[in-house]
C-alpha cells in the first residue's frame, strides 16, 4: 500500500478527513498504515536539493565530532548520558544519513527518523548555543520534521493539529462564532463583579490587539477574562479580532510549513485590518515564536517583522508594573519561595530574559533562580510538540526529570510558567513525580495582588 487512508502524504483538507483521523483511537490504524507507507525518494531528494543550502549543508559537513554539545542537551543527561542522545549523533544518524543516501531510505528508516525527530529533540535550540561552530540541532530537526511531514511520517496528533490549523486557523476546532460567543458569555458572568468590563471585538485603531492560544478559548476561558480584567485595571484601549485571534502553530511542530503560512497570514491580516499600535501575545512560548519570530518569514516579509510591533505578555506586565499602570498591594506579594520557568521560545530564542525578573521584583518576596537560567535554561521537557504525542509519553515523562531536579534545587514551592507548554509540562511533572509544587500563569497571580483603582471597585 503506497498511501494509507489516514496516513499519507496529503495534508488534511476536509472536515471528513479530520474526523476520520480523530475517530482512530490513539492513532492505531494510522500508525499501522504508516508501516506500509512508501517513501518517495525522488521527491525527497529533490526537496533537499532545493531547500538545503549553505547553512545546513555546512553544518552537516563540518561538525568536528567534538561532543561539546552532548551535555548541553537535557535529553542526553536525563537518559543517563546515552551516547545515542548526543545532539550531533541524533542529527547525523537521521538527516545526515538521508542526505548521504540521496533520499534513498526505507520506510523503517523514516519511522526511526520520526521517532528521533519528535521524541529525542524538542527543538529547544540549547545545543546550538554550546557548539563552537554554532551548529543548531534544533533548527536542523525542525528542517528534518518538514521533510518527514512531506512524506507522511508525522505523529498522529500533529497531523491532526496541523489539519486543525488548515481548517479552522486554530489548533482546535474553535470557529469564529464559538470564539466570539465564549468571550461574550465569559464577560457577562464577570460583569457581576466588574460592572464595566468588556472584551472589545474588532475595534479598529486600538492601542493593543490581544491574541491568544486557542486552548484558552476552548478549555480555560477564564484566562481571557483575567486578561480583560487586567487590561481594564491598567486602563488599556484594547481589542481582540474575531478572525485571526489564535497565534499558536502546531503546524510548526509538525513541520507543515504551508499550514504555518496559512495560519500566520490570517493573524497578520487581522493586524492590518484593525491597525492596532501593538499586539500583545498571551502567556505562551511557541505561539510567540510562531507569530513573532518565525511567522514573518513564512509570510515572506523581508524585514523579518510582523506588520505591527508585537510583545509577549511578560513584556506587557513588566511595562505595566514599571510605569505604574498596574500596582501591586505590598501586603499581598507572594511570600513563599517562588521560581520562574524561562521558556526557550521567548527567552533563548527571543531575548526576553529580563521581563520576568522585573515582574518577580514587583510580586515576589522570595524569588529564586533556577540553575542554569535565562537563555541557558533547559527546556521544560515537553516542548516542540513532545507534550501532546501519546506515542512518546514514556520518553516525555523521562524528559521531565531535568526540570524536576532544577525546581527541587531552588526549594521553591511555586513555579511561575508564563507559557502554555511549560505550564502543562510542570503540571504533568507534579502528577508524575509529586514533588509538592504549585504552578501558575501570571494572570491569576496578578489578579490576586493588584490594587484596584477606586472608580473600578465593584460596589459593595
Amino acid at each position: 500500500m503506497p498511501e494509507g487512508k489516514l496516513c499519507n502524504k496529503k495534508p488534511v483538507s476536509t472536515r471528513e478527513e479530520l474526523d476520520a483521523l480523530l475517530a482512530d483511537s490513539n492513532g492505531r490504524q494510522y500508525y499501522a498504515e504508516m508501516e506500509q507507507l512508501d517513501v518517495d525518494s525522488d521527491a525527497l531528494w529533490a526537496t533537499i536539493q532545493k531547500t538545503m543550502k549553505s547553512r545546513l549543508k555546512t553544518w552537516l559537513e563540518i561538525c568536528a565530532h567534538c561532543g561539546l554539545c552532548a551535555d548541553s542537551c537535557f535529553l542526553y543527561t536525563v537518559n543517563e548520558k546515552d551516547p545515542t542522545q548526543v545532539p550531533s549523533y541524533k542529527i547525523q544518524s537521521t538527516l545526515g544519513e538521508i542526505v548521504r543516501r540521496k533520499g534513498k531510505v526505507s520506510n523503517e528508516f523514516m519511522r526511526m527518523c520520526m521517532d528521533t525527530a519528535w521524541s529525542k529533540c524538542t527543538c529547544c535550540n540549547r545545543c546550538g548555543t554550546y557548539c563552537p561552530y554554532g551548529i543548531d540541532m534544533g533548527v536542523m530537526f525542525s528542517y528534518l520534521r518538514g521533510l518527514l511531514h512531506s512524506q507522511g511520517f508525522v505523529p498522529w496528533e500533529l497531523k491532526i493539529g496541523s489539519g486543525m490549523h488548515r481548517l479552522f486557523r486554530a489548533q482546535m476546532d474553535v470557529t469564529v462564532e464559538d470564539f466570539v460567543d465564549t468571550c461574550q458569555w465569559m464577560v457577562e458572568e464577570a460583569q457581576e463583579e466588574w460592572p464595566c468590563l468588556e472584551i472589545p471585538i474588532d475595534k479598529e485603531d486600538a492601542d493593543i490587539v490581544y491574541m491568544i492560544n486557542a486552548r484558552e478559548a476552548k478549555h480555560y476561558p477564564e484566562d481571557i477574562v483575567e486578561a480583560a480584567i487586567l487590561f481594564h485595571i491598567a486602563g488599556e484601549n484594547w481589542t481582540m479580532p474575531s478572525v485571526g485571534w489564535e497565534m499558536t502553530s502546531l503546524a510548526m511542530f509538525a513541520g507543515d510549513w504551508e499550514a504555518c503560512k496559512m495560519q500566520v497570514e490570517t493573524i497578520y491580516s487581522a493586524m492590518e485590518r484593525l491597525r492596532p499600535k501593538r499586539m500583545v501575545a498571551t502567556e505562551c512560548g511557541h505561539a510567540y515564536r510562531a507569530t513573532v519570530i518565525e511567522g514573518p518569514y513564512w509570510a515572506g516579509r523581508p524585514d523579518g517583522k510582523p506588520p505591527v510591533e508585537c510583545i509577549h505578555y511578560v513584556e506587557w506586565v513588566a511595562e505595566a508594573l514599571e510605569t505604574g499602570k498596574l500596582k501591586i498591594d505590598p501586603t499581598k506579594k507572594i511570600k513563599e519561595p517562588v521560581t520562574v520557568q524561562d521558556s526557550c521560545n521567548y527567552v533563548r530564542n527571543a531575548g526576553l530574559r529580563e521581563c520576568t525578573r522585573i515582574i518577580m521584583k514587583h510580586i515576589a518576596e522570595d524569588f529564586r533562580e533556577m540553575a542554569p537560567c535565562k537563555e541557558h535554561n533547559y527546556c521544560c521537557g515537553g516542548g516542540g510538540g513532545f507534550n501532546g504525542i501519546g506515542r512518546y509519553r514514556k520518553q516525555r515523562n523521562i524528559a521531565l526529570k531535568m526540570k524536576r531536579e532544577q525546581i527541587l534545587a531552588t526549594g521553591a514551592k511555586l513555579v511561575v510558567a508564563p507559557c502554555h507548554n511549560c505550564w502543562d509540562a510542570i503540571r504533568d511533572l507534579e502528577e508524575e513525580y509529586q514533588i509538592g509544587i504549585k504552578w501558575s500563569f501570571l494572570k491569576p497571580l496578578l489578579i490576586k495582588m493588584v490594587e484596584v483603582p477606586p472608580h473600578l471597585r465593584p460596589e459593595e
Binding site: T51, K53, S54, R55, K57, T58, W59, E61, I62, C63, A64, H65, C66, G67, L68, A70, D71, S72, Y76, K81, P83, T84, V86, S88, Y89, Q92, G128, T129, Y130, C131, P132, Y133, G134, I135, D136, I293, E294, P296, Y297, G300, P302, D303, G304, K305, R348, N349, A350, G351, L352, R353, E354, P372, K374, E375, H376
Partner: protein, 224 residues
C-alpha cells in the same frame, strides 16, 4: 626532493589553500538565503553585524563562553592546540625566512624557545584531544575514520616540525616529512573538515546574525 617541495610545489599548495578556502567562503555566503534560513540578513544588517561580531569574538576568547567554561580542561587543550597550529607556523623564523626568500614579504618572528614551547604544548594537547575522543563514549560514538586521520596528520606535522628544529642527525628526514605534511594540510584544507579554518568564521557569523536579528538581538545581546 626537498628543493622541489619548498620551491614551485609550495606555491602551488599555497594557491590551492588560499583560493580553495576563498571559494568556500564566497560560496557559503552566496548560499545563505533569508527565506530558507529565516533570517533577514540584508534588511537588518546593522543588528546582524553586531550579533556576528559578538558571536565570533566571544568564541575566540578562551573561557569566553558558557560552553568553554563548562569544559575547562577540554577548552584549555583546544586553545593550546589551536594556538600552536596557528601562531607557530605564522611566526616561526624558518617559515618567515622562506616566505621572504620566495615573495619578499616579511614580518616579526617568534623567539625559537617560545616557538618550541608552543609547538610541544600543542602536540601534547592534540594527543590529549585524541585520547578524549576514544575515552568518552559521547565523543567515541561520533568519531569516524576521517576525524582520526586528520588528527594523526596534524600531530605528525607538529611532531616532525619539533624534531626538525632539534637539528639532530635525522634532521633532513624530519624536515622532509614536515614539509610533506604541510603540503597535505594545505592541499586538503579546502576539501576536508580542515576547511573549518575559514568556515568556522562563516558559521559563527551566520548564527551570530541569526541571534542578532531574529532571536532577540534587537532587544538584548545573547549571553554566549
Amino acid at each position: 626532493m626537498y628543493a622541489l617541495l619548498t620551491g614551485p610545489l609550495l606555491w602551488f599548495s599555497f594557491a590551492v589553500f588560499f583560493i580553495g578556502l576563498g571559494v568556500r567562503v564566497v560560496l557559503y555566503f552566496r548560499g545563505l538565503d533569508w527565506r530558507l534560513d529565516r533570517v533577514a540578513y540584508t534588511t537588518q544588517l546593522p543588528y546582524g553585524l553586531k550579533g556576528a561580531w559578538r558571536s565570533v569574538y566571544k568564541w575566540l576568547i578562551p573561557f569566553g563562553t558558557h560552553s568553554w567554561r563548562e569544559k575547562p580542561v577540554f577548552t584549555l587543550a583546544f586553545f593550546v592546540f589551536h594556538i600552536g597550529l596557528v601562531v607557530v607556523p605564522l611566526f616561526l623564523e624558518g617559515h618567515v625566512v622562506m616566505i621572504r626568500n620566495g615573495i619578499g614579504l616579511s614580518w616579526p618572528t617568534l623567539p625559537q624557545g617560545l616557538a618550541d614551547f608552543l609547538a610541544i604544548a600543542a602536540f601534547l594537547a592534540g594527543v590529549g584531544i585524541g585520547i578524549r575522543r576514544f575515552a568518552l563514549p559521547e565523543v567515541r560514538i561520533l568519531t569516524d575514520f576521517k576525524d582520526v586521520a586528520l588528527l594523526v596528520l596534524t600531530l605528525t606535522l607538529l611532531a616532525s616540525g619539533i624534531m626538525a628544529a632539534r637539528h639532530t642527525e635525522s634532521y633532513m628526514t624530519w624536515l622532509t616529512l614536515h614539509v610533506l605534511c604541510g603540503h597535505v594540510v594545505l592541499l586538503a584544507a579546502p576539501f576536508t573538515k580542515l576547511a573549518h579554518i575559514a568556515l568556522f568564521f562563516c558559521t559563527r557569523i551566520q548564527l551570530g546574525m541569526d541571534f542578532g536579528i531574529k532571536r532577540g538581538g534587537m532587544k538584548t545581546n545573547f549571553d554566549w
